[in-house]
């Protein structure tokens, strides 16, 4: 029986702490030695958009470097690096139609385009699947 775990996420970046929670669970799964599949659906396909950019924050009184603004694409890059370091597989699949709707095809390296059929296949091949829908 595979010990891989699959996750489906839906929330757009910078909208909901559910996304951070899911990414933390994914990190723990990789640390624990699991291969991980992620299906990003709807707004979540923008999490890996390559053009996300940090900015300064005048309210905080910090320039861009000092602010070091969190970017979901950097978090995903970090998870991909963690998977490589641990010798595990992180297969991050963006729903292609959702990508087209939002014009966010320019994704970071290591992320691929797919469909709900990929989600079904990865879930069948996994020990379990966790979904987090948008509220």
């Amino acid at each position: 029986m595979s010990t891989a775990l699959s996750f489906a996420i839906m929330d757009a970046p910078f909208e909901n702490s559910r996304t951070v929670t899911m990414l933390r669970v994914i990190a723990e799964a990789l640390e624990a030695g699991h291969d991980v599949n992620v299906f990003a659906y709807e707004g979540a396909v923008a999490l890996s958009f390559a053009r996300q950019a940090p900015h300064a924050n005048a309210v905080h009184g910090r320039d861009a470097a000092e602010e070091n603004h969190p970017l979901p694409r950097v978090w995903i890059e970090s998870l991909l690096a963690l998977a490589a370091k641990r010798g595990r597989r992180l297969d991050w699949v963006n729903c292609g139609l959702c990508v087209d709707e939002r014009g966010v095809a320019e994704a970071i390296d290591g992320v691929r385009r797919g469909s709900p059929a990929d989600f079904w296949k990865m879930s069948v091949e996994s020990a379990n699947t966790l979904t987090a829908g948008t509220r």
Binding site: Y41, E42, P116, V124, T129, T131, G133
Partner: protein, 126 residues
């Protein structure tokens, strides 16, 4: 492996998508070979109401061609063999128990949900 899709959030982005995204996802994965049930809870029990006809959006000179019809989309899932359930108390709270509901709908009291959930090895809450 049988999977129960549990929908609670209703009418999310149905204008933009012209469907419910999880009902659509279920159609797509059913087409890919998956075996699903669909449990409507909370406001999503309204998807079982057959008399609803959401109007097409008109903004300035732009008019929508295909307004979402979640009731028809759920009925279409049922026609493909997907069992469709709704929580009785959620229908009752919204005054829908006596409404014209999907013919294939199975109404489930909340107290019986554990039995239903036990029938599906995978339960995905959206």
């Amino acid at each position: 492996m049988r999977t129960l899709q549990v929908i609670e959030t209703a009418y999310r982005a149905t204008v933009e998508e012209q469907d419910d995204t999880i009902v659509w996802l279920t159609h797509a994965m059913n087409g890919a070979g998956g075996e699903f049930g669909l449990l409507l809870t909370g406001n999503a029990v309204c998807y079982a109401l057959q008399e609803q006809r959401p109007p097409a959006l008109a903004l300035g000179g732009w008019t929508q061609s295909h307004a979402a019809d979640p009731a028809a989309d759920v009925a279409s899932l049922a026609a493909k063999g997907v069992r469709v359930y709704a929580v009785e108390e959620d229908l009752e709270e919204r005054g829908l128990l006596d409404a014209q509901l999907l013919d294939a709908l199975t109404v489930v009291p909340r107290a019986k949900l554990p039995v239903l959930l036990d029938e599906y090895p995978r339960v995905w809450k959206w």
